[in-house]
């Protein structure tokens, strides 16, 4: 189905199912309960999950397939955001033209940056992309202030022309898809649970599903095979009559366009673009997401993106007060001790927890979370497979006897 193998079709459906039901799945705890703070099913965070999912899926096409580690992909994210906000300012609050421009602009920048950076490989390529990203960041932060509005960031104003929308009445207009406002949310109350279904989230989710589908197609295409050949042995590739340069450049541009789409969506959800979106820490984050989830796997980057964004938003919100509540059943001394021990790992210290998780994954599961899932799966299946062996052996013996 969909031109995919059975296994990939199943994966596609599983991802679609989880994405579309995320507002329910991510809110397993009743609102108001003690565990409600672990709920991730609010529109703002869910949008981040899928948008950074797109970013990581695109990054994985470059890094997972060709092995070229770009440290500058946040530049394309930022370019996508700026393009989208300019489209909101000049043309219309409709998100479609904004996102199209984001993808095109990011693609063009990726073509130029990729053309130069891909002349080198390995660490030199990483450094070149990092240099380009930092240049973009600094340009956006100071030099190009007329375009990017410097450190304040690019915002909507009432005096923007917005040619297609005409004059806006009252406050600032909001982003929409042919009239459906992105921030529109329907809240469903089922017993103690509350589920938020927002237009913005479903718009992003749909685009992520399309992006995911396209990445599956690329992974299974001859082009994807060539990209894996680049990673495996470029020398052999060149002596096999294949020019590796355009292959890597195409992968770079495609992944840049994915980043542009992600940046455009960030702006479509919140029409504001700042230079810090291009900073090297943002580039590093997508590397972490991809490796944590499993570089070179289909679903890994999405998992990694969800994982990191969950930690960033949920763990960082736990404070000492909440810890005291949790350990309230303990004797006072022990309670304070536990809170002191755990304190560095929560709140502002969530990076510490993430760092430890990352180290554990890289050391024990080099294939990322996906490898973890596969190992767990194999643990449960092992017994069946042994049974298979016995059966097939028996069948062979029977056949031989006859």
């Amino acid at each position: 189905m969909l031109g995919l193998e059975r296994k990939d079709t199943l994966l596609m459906f599983a991802v679609a199912f989880i994405t579309l039901l995320a507002p329910i799945i991510l809110n397993p705890f009743p609102a108001g309960s003690a565990l409600a703070q672990f709920n991730a099913g609010y529109p703002d965070l869910m949008q981040r999950f899928v948008i950074f999912g797109i970013f990581a899926i695109g990054f994985n096409i470059l890094f997972g397939l060709t092995g070229y580690l770009s440290f500058g992909h946040a530049a394309f994210l930022g370019i996508g955001s700026y393009s989208a906000v300019w489209m909101f300012k000049l043309l219309s609050m409709n998100v479609i033209p904004a996102i199209l421009l984001s993808i095109i602009m990011a693609g063009l920048f990726a073509l130029v940056i990729g053309f130069v950076s891909l002349r080198r490989s390995g660490i030199y390529f990483s450094i070149l992309t990092l240099a380009f990203a930092q240049m973009s960041y600094n340009l956006a932060y100071s030099v190009l202030t007329p375009v990017t509005n410097g450190e304040t960031g690019l915002q909507l104003t009432l005096s923007d022309p917005r040619i297609l929308d005409g004059a806006s009445s009252g406050g600032l207009p909001v982003t929409s898809l042919f009239g459906a406002e992105m921030r529109d949310t329907t809240t469903l109350y089922v017993g103690p649970w509350t589920w938020d279904f927002s237009v913005g989230y479903y718009f992003c989710a749909l685009l992520m599903l399309i992006a995911f589908y396209l990445s599956v197609r690329i992974f299974r295409s001859p082009f994807g095979m060539m990209l894996r050949a680049v990673k495996s042995n470029q020398q052999r590739m060149n002596y096999t009559g294949l020019n590796s340069r355009p292959y890597t450049l195409a992968a770079f541009v495609i992944s840049g366009m994915y980043a542009g789409l992600a940046g455009g969506l960030l702006a479509a959800m919140d029409p504001l673009a700042g230079a810090d979106r291009m900073q090297w820490t943002a580039s590093g984050e997508v590397v972490l997401m991809t490796i944590l989830g499993g570089a070179g796997t289909l679903i890994g980057p999405v998992l990694g993106a969800g994982f990191i964004k969950y930690f960033e938003n949920i763990f960082s919100k736990i404070n000492d007060g909440i810890l005291h509540q949790w350990f309230a059943f303990m004797p006072d001394g022990l309670e304070n001790f536990m809170v002191t021990v755990i304190h560095p790992f929560i709140g502002k210290g969530w990076h510490l927890t993430l760092g430890i998780m990352f180290m554990l994954v890289v050391i024990f599961l080099p294939g990322g979370l996906v490898e973890g899932a596969q190992r767990t799966g194999r643990l449960f299946r092992r017994r069946d497979r042994n049974a298979d062996h016995v059966e097939s052996d028996a069948a062979r013996q029977r056949a031989a006897a006859e």
Binding site: S221, M226, M237, G241, L242
Partner: protein
């Protein structure tokens, strides 16, 4: 007129004259060996043929066209395939994929953005690759990851990857270097088998006299960057110049 014509090629690395006025002519459908002691310039010459190095002067004509200044992938597309000293394969990919990649390269050229097609649906390419694997007796290993093959099988796979492109000229750079005698003999048999099954020109650089005399129809002896003689194997064995430059070393 041979399929490969090397005329007056010079290559200098700083003060070292690696190749001095090399002339070489490889006739179509023959096995031509290039031998010579260490440092004779055999590998330099080979690198000049495949586009890795550009000679300072001289000409290299393949099939009527100059190869000088062309990139390795362009030269391959002209019909020259190369087997390396240590097998260069796509180690992370399956054996079948390893052979499918050269099939794609032959059909689609040096680059094509076939990102929306599916490998699974390329039945022609798959059949071509499987037929080639059957030809080198590796069809049962097609789903193995190439890095898990034995060294002999890696060599076999590399040959299959080159042969599936039906090259006009196959260059072999010391295909038996560092191999045990049994493996060497297997490689010789494989090459003889390949030669018997199809019309192919081979140019082989080799240290091992056993290999050279088992396979070659013409032999060029290279010493200190200059060809000494070009002869049939029978005539090479007793040739005084060759003895002096090459075999003589062993007698001292």
């Amino acid at each position: 007129m041979g399929i490969l014509e090397v005329k007056g090629v010079n290559k200098r690395f700083g003060g070292l004259q690696a190749l001095g006025d090399v002339n070489l002519s490889v006739r179509e459908n023959t096995v031509h060996a290039i031998i010579g002691p260490n440092g004779a310039g055999k590998s330099t010459l080979l690198n000049c043929l495949v586009g890795k190095l550009i000679p300072d002067s001289g000409s290299v004509m393949f099939d009527g066209q100059s190869v000088l200044g062309r990139k390795p992938h362009e030269i391959n597309q002209m019909g020259i395939s190369r087997v390396f000293q240590t097998p260069e394969i796509f180690a992370d990919l399956s054996v079948l994929e390893n052979v499918m990649i050269p099939c794609f390269a032959r059909r689609d050229g040096a680059f094509r953005l076939h990102a929306y097609e599916t490998v699974r649906k390329e039945a022609d390419i798959r059949e071509q690759a499987e037929a080639m694997l059957a030809d080198v007796n590796m069809l049962d290993k097609r789903n193995m990851i190439a890095s898990s093959l034995s060294r002999g099988d890696k060599r076999r796979l590399e040959m299959a990857m080159c042969l599936v492109q039906s090259p006009k000229l196959l260059l072999l750079d010391e295909p038996t270097a560092g191999m045990a005698r049994a493996d060497t003999n297997n490689t010789i048999d494989l090459l003889k088998e390949i030669k018997a099954k199809r019309d192919i020109t081979m140019c082989i650089i080799e240290h091992d006299m056993h290999v050279v005399f088992s396979l070659a129809e013409r032999i060029t002896v290279l010493a200190q960057g200059t060809p000494l003689v070009e002869e049939t194997p029978e005539n090479i064995k007793g040739h005084p110049k060759v003895r002096e430059a090459y075999l003589g070393e062993a007698q001292v």
